[in-house]
Amino acid sequence: MNKNKEQLLNKRYKAEKRFRLYGQGAIFMAFLFLIIFIFKIFSTGYSAFQKTWLIVPVTFDAELMMLEQNPSKQDLKDADYYDIALKSMADLDPNANEDQENELKRMVSYFFEREIKRELLNDPSLIGKTKDVYLTASDDLDQVFKGNYPRDLPEDQRRVTDYQLKIFDQLVELGKVESKFNLSFFTYPDSREAELAGIASSFMGSIFSILVCLMIAFPVAVLAAIYLEEFAPKNRFTDFIEVNINNLAAVPSIVFGLLGLGILLAVFQLPRSTPLVGGITLSLMTLPTIIIACRASLKAVPPSIREAALAMGASKMQTTMHHTVPLSMPGTLSGTIIGLAQALGETAPLILIGMVAFVNTIPGSPLDPAASLPVQIYIWAESAERGFVEKVSACIMVLLGFLIIMNLFAQIIRHKFEKKWS
């Protein structure tokens, strides 16, 4: 009998331990996912912040550029750079035949003549001389140099030919290949060529959308929250508004995209693919988030503050506007920032309103067509070129960086400025 009891007790203690272990295991799993996730993104993405350059001697031959004596600035701009660009690449291997010359040309980026042109425009005295020019390597060679490209594949499965690899290795040995910080990733707009693609256009698109979203969502949400929390009578209509807000907070984001498409584009005829429409769509999405945050922080202001103001003869409106609302602002602002962070990461509604269009200019206003950072991630992730994989990860790192900064900011506002009532 006693032994039986002991056995039972042991069994129960074991069950207790097991249950605890399950809990720890679940938390561990969640952390594990997070760590794998972040590790994967960083390990594929960090190399995109470096860019490979080939240093190629270029002879600025006036005759090949169709330049006459003493050319003006405009002449230099209109000159033909393609031939000298081609020639300088072909000169890397004097024995190259026609096919090989073509392969040599494809070792640098698609717009390599522009880099040569820029060099000459910076220093017109180079005409007739030879100078080492930094040329952006093609994205495949860029990947080879970073070690992301399998060299041991058979040649017909590679986009880099054996010949290109041979010349490239010679250049590496001569020290004519250099890796530098990839500034163009931040300053160039999107491009079909992986080595020239940057996030400037989508970054500006994101900024404009978020600004539009903030300018619409914040005032409307705060005013709505003040009404619902401080003035609304308790009746069916108020309940209906509340049910609406709670539901909107859980409506899938793609439905808001359909709203933007069906109402903003089709009925109001607003311009497609623009951050203006994107921002309005996102603002409808963030509205419930901000309303809920603002109401919570209005609720947290103790009634004694309101009673004191009312006792001093302030009207209800004055009490609210002069005392309750300012005291609730830290909570509201941090809720707003969190809402905006959500909006910044949103993709599906923006795809539906056409912000996936290929944009190779940097938008200057909310009325110019643009992409946004998450949409850029989607566009690049769907491209086949190997060079885009690290770009996607790098873009994700930039996006996550912004989200982290915004969330930290929200935390700081909340902890620094929020009054603790106790």
């Binding site: 969640a30 996912f33 994967k40 009404y227 409506v251 439905v255 359909l258 498409l261 990461g345 992730a381």
Partner: protein, 461 residues
């Protein structure tokens, strides 16, 4: 022009505010008692300046284009043009007047463009004159009122309250907007495709609708086997099911652990860390699923001799499950912590261990709340878009094999609507019909879940 007018009106508003306040001070200096604080006199005047301006601006924005169009097209009215042709003429006129017209310029259109420009300038200047004169009149009326020291605080506060009330209607307007944007296209869709075929058809192949020659009349029989949504619905719930298989055990167990076992310090750090998972944008999850998880599963499957698609339902559903973990863990954590301590104490007093208390007492007590949180998680899984678009297939297979690719409602909406859409095409309308069903399903789930959670909270508060 509009901008200058706008700035002018804003300046006028500010000046009237200062005028109103000064008037209040002068009334005060004559030893009369003010009926409100001086700034209310200013607000009162400023509001009388802003409201008429706002009304006229919006009236103009609504009616000006229609009236100008009517006037322009009245030149063509008795020449037997069809409505579509008239619209085309009007578009050409507008384009020419902006200097963006590329094509043959007929003298007729040139004349219309000139007329258009002159009409526009007449409209603009008459707007300016009308706005300014009405504002001046209304401000003068208001100035007379405050000069006689009548009440100003009450009307100003009433106005502010009206503004607050209008803002709170935004939530209703958004819902109405969603319903409106979906319902018309959906009704048009069901005019061509019978509801029965949509709900019970087993072939989803919207690309077929693309082949149609637009000059031919719509032939409903052509679509008889194109828009059967059963594979889409099945795929949606299947992927959501896989996601919940990952999210419920992990989310629930970590919620229980955080609420019942974890020390304050662990809780303080672990909770926000898990919630990071909820803050990561879904497109990032999609990329992760497509680039890492999909190929990884394929490799494992191949090494075991299984045929695994690189875009499997398992990859999409599994990653989606990771995304949903924090929703379930935080919500169930909240729910469990709100179970009253007396229930625990009673159970401990009877000699139960902690896990027995959790399983036999706390879990049943918290069950409604936990079910609510799971329902919210399901609704999120059904509405999730980017993970499915990027990691699961886009072809709608009717399958229950998690290693094959399937498609979901959200993925099909994106596939259909990406790029240029032609409104009035059954294919585009199909996307809206899918959106409608998505909205209805998630709406039901949300309402039930929110009600369950609310009922549960009321029980213990």
């Amino acid at each position: 022009m509009n901008l200058i007018l706008f700035i002018f009106i804003v300046l006028l508003g500010f000046t009237s505010y200062y005028f109103g306040r000064r008037k209040a001070y002068t009334i005060q200096s004559t030893n009369k008692r003010l009926t409100a604080l001086p700034q209310f006199y200013g607000y009162y005047l400023a509001i009388w300046c802003a409201i008429p301006a706002f009304i006229i601006f919006s009236l103009w924005a609504i009616f000006e284009p229609t009236i100008v169009k009517l006037l322009i097209l009245s030149d063509y009215s008795n020449q037997g043009y069809l409505d579509d042709e008239l619209n085309l003429i009007y578009e050409k006129t507008k384009a020419l007047s902006r200097g963006q017209f590329t094509g043959e310029i007929t003298p007729f259109i040139e004349a219309s463009a000139e007329k258009y420009l002159s009409l526009r300038s007449i409209a603009q200047s008459s707007k300016a004159v009308i706005v300014l004169s009405i504002i001046i009149a209304s401000v003068a009326y208001a100035y007379k009122k405050i000069s006689s020291n009548s009440r100003t605080r009450e009307p100003v506060e009433k106005f502010l309250k009206a503004v607050l009330f209008t803002a709170s209607l935004a939530a209703i307007l958004t819902t109405v907007g969603i319903v409106f944007s979906l319902i018309f296209q959906t009704i048009d869709f069901f005019k061509v495709i019978p509801l029965f075929d949509f709900v019970f058809g087993t072939h989803w192949y919207p690309a077929k609708a693309f082949v149609r020659d637009s000059s031919e009349a719509l032939d409903p029989t052509m679509y008889s086997d194109t828009f059967g949504a059963v594979p889409i619905f099945a795929g949606t719930f299947f992927i959501a099911f896989i996601a919940m298989c990952v999210a419920i055990p992990i989310g629930l167990m970590s919620g229980i652990y955080l609420a019942e076992y974890a020390s304050v310090k662990v809780r303080q750090y672990a909770k926000p860390l898990i919630e990071i998972l909820a803050g990561i944008p879904t497109v990032v999850y999609g990329f992760f699923a497509a680039l890492t998880v999909g190929p990884f599963l394929k490799e494992i499957g191949n090494s075991m001799g299984l045929d695994v698609s690189a875009e499997s339902a398992l990859a999409a559903g599994g990653v989606m499950g990771i995304m949903i973990i924090p929703f379930i863990s935080s919500l169930s954590d909240d729910v469990i912590t709100s179970v009253p301590q007396s229930l625990r104490d009673g159970s401990y007093a009877m000699g139960a261990t902690k896990s027995e208390t959790i399983k036999k007492v706390i879990f049943p007590a918290a069950l409604p709340g936990i079910v609510g949180s799971i329902l919210l998680g399901v609704s999120r899984a059904i509405g999730e878009t980017m993970i499915v678009v990027m990691a699961s297939g886009l072809a709608a297979n009717l399958t229950l094999n998690p290693l094959e690719s399937t498609s979901t409602i959200t993925a099909q909406i994106v596939v259909i609507l990406i790029g240029d859409q032609a409104f009035g095409d059954p294919k585009t309308q199909a996307a809206f019909a899918l959106g409608m069903s998505l909205f209805l399903v998630t709406l039901c789930l949300n309402i039930v879940a929110l009600r369950v959670v609310k009922k549960y909270r009321e029980k213990y508060e």
